[in-house]
Amino acid sequence: MSVGAPKIPVVVTEVVQVNDLIKRFRFQRRDGDAMPTFSGGAHVVVEMDDHGTRRMNPYSLMSAPSDTSGYEISVRRDDVGRGGSLYMHTHVQPGMEMVLSHPVNLFPLDNRAKKHLMIAGGIGITPFVAQMAQLQAMGGRFELHYSMRSPALGAYAQVLKAHYDDRVHLYYDEEKQFIDLKNLLKGQPLGTHLYVCGPKGMIAWVRATATEMGWPALSVHSEEFLAPPVGKAFEVQLAASGKTITVAPNQSLLEAMEANGVEAPYLCRGGACGQCETEVHRCDGHIDHNDHWLTDEQKASNTKIMPCVSRFAGAALVIDR
């Protein structure tokens, strides 16, 4: 979110327990107006007031992009995380008022593709749900391969299968079903684009296999949001605003700046988009660069930091905010 970008005041209209781990939330505008349409793959940042702590988590939109009556997201409960997903699961009820960002797409379809080949792991299914709805409406060719732990934990698997039939392929780990990736990547027509969303290991596996099989890097797309990791508290000097702040163990540096009244730009809050990139004036210690944005050289030089996910340990960190 750029500072000053518009936000959408919403009310929660539906909370559905999809399975043991996942809840689905529906939001509609408080003023009754239409939501903006969006492109499949987009996310919104959901603002939460968790008993005085302001949390802002990105979630992929999974409702049909053409449905302007409301937005839907799915949230997987993370019992050891910082609490954003737990807050959504335990406190968010129908009727509650919340605030969303406008949709932002860091995982767009390449509309030139002759065919879209999608690989989802677990909760990574959500952006594909919206993308398939959009492709279906536009007459695009697609195929989904969706891997999950068990039928009980496979959110939306049966719904998607019923709706899209043989364009959807399901794989259950517990039943020892695995995606035969090499065979899958072998027979695709020139101009196919490959998309993967799921756990880190799955993304790495799909990317490495595609490279090995001769797929160009520009034909392979992935999205992985990082939850800001928890860690030890640390202190940061903000040079531009002349403040010294403390980042709590379950808080990100970005959140700590916001809590201290220092506005910083952001879009994804998950280390992927680059919007919050900040100059480091001085680093006497070690930065844990947890993002996907900075290059290895930039990380090694400690001249920049991504405050949404990265942390620090050491004597002094001075940044340009």
Binding site: K186, Q188, P189, L190, T192, G214, P216, L218, S219
Partner: protein, 203 residues
């Protein structure tokens, strides 16, 4: 003879690399003129195993350089010697349309050839930048007249007369991948008849 070194230029002007074999299920190689050397050198480095899944399309360069015998002798699974790009283009289009992901595509030779192969590949949806390229041989240019839209092949002089509309054009480095040509713009539009001496810039 090694790859051609060009002067640094504006950002739309293509830059070329050195052909290096990459892992792939199949390999399509297109070359003209001295580009044949880049192909034989690549195979010499990579080993001959890839030849069993390689298709080579070759044509003489605009300067007449013809090394088809050397390429044919490599023993690729498929080899075609064509008299010109125009003669080869329908075969190229068919091969690209039938190809699958995992096919590596290589082009070596003159800029006109590289541009037209990349154009044909991109038309089938493979990213333009994923084609492996190396420039060898003649530096003559393929230039589109921005006024009449006609393309003049093998331009050696700057300025030159458009082979279609006859206007005197200066050759810019501005390059369109979609059209596979440099841009030619009328040099004496403001002062008709005042055309600077033509210089041989591209050989």
């Amino acid at each position: 003879m090694t790859k051609t070194e060009f002067e640094p230029s504006i950002k739309s002007r293509p830059v070329y690399g050195v052909l290096e074999a990459a892992p792939g299920l199949a390999h399509l190689i297109v070359a003209d003129g001295e580009g044949a050397d880049a192909v034989t050198e690549m195979i010499a480095r990579a080993g001959t195993a890839m030849l069993a899944s390689t298709h080579i399309i070759y044509m003489p360069g605009p300067n007449g350089c013809d090394k088809s015998a050397a390429l044919q002798a490599l023993g690729a699974a498929q080899f075609r010697s064509s008299p010109s790009f125009a003669a080869a283009s329908s075969r190229l289009a068919k091969v690209v349309a039938d190809a699958h992901m995992g096919t590596q595509i290589y082009v070596a030779g003159t800029e006109g050839l590289i541009a037209q192969v990349c154009q044909a590949v991109a038309a089938q949806g493979l990213p333009y930048e994923s084609v492996h390229t190396e420039h060898r041989g003649s530096t003559v240019r393929r230039v589109q007249c921005v006024h009449c839209k006609g393309i003049t092949e093998n331009v050696t002089h700057d300025p030159f007369k458009c082979s279609h509309c006859g206007l005197s054009l200066f050759v810019r480095d501005h390059f369109s991948r979609r059209i596979a040509a440099f841009q030619g713009v009328n040099i004496d539009a403001e002062d008709p008849g005042l055309v600077p001496d033509s210089v041989e810039r591209f050989k």
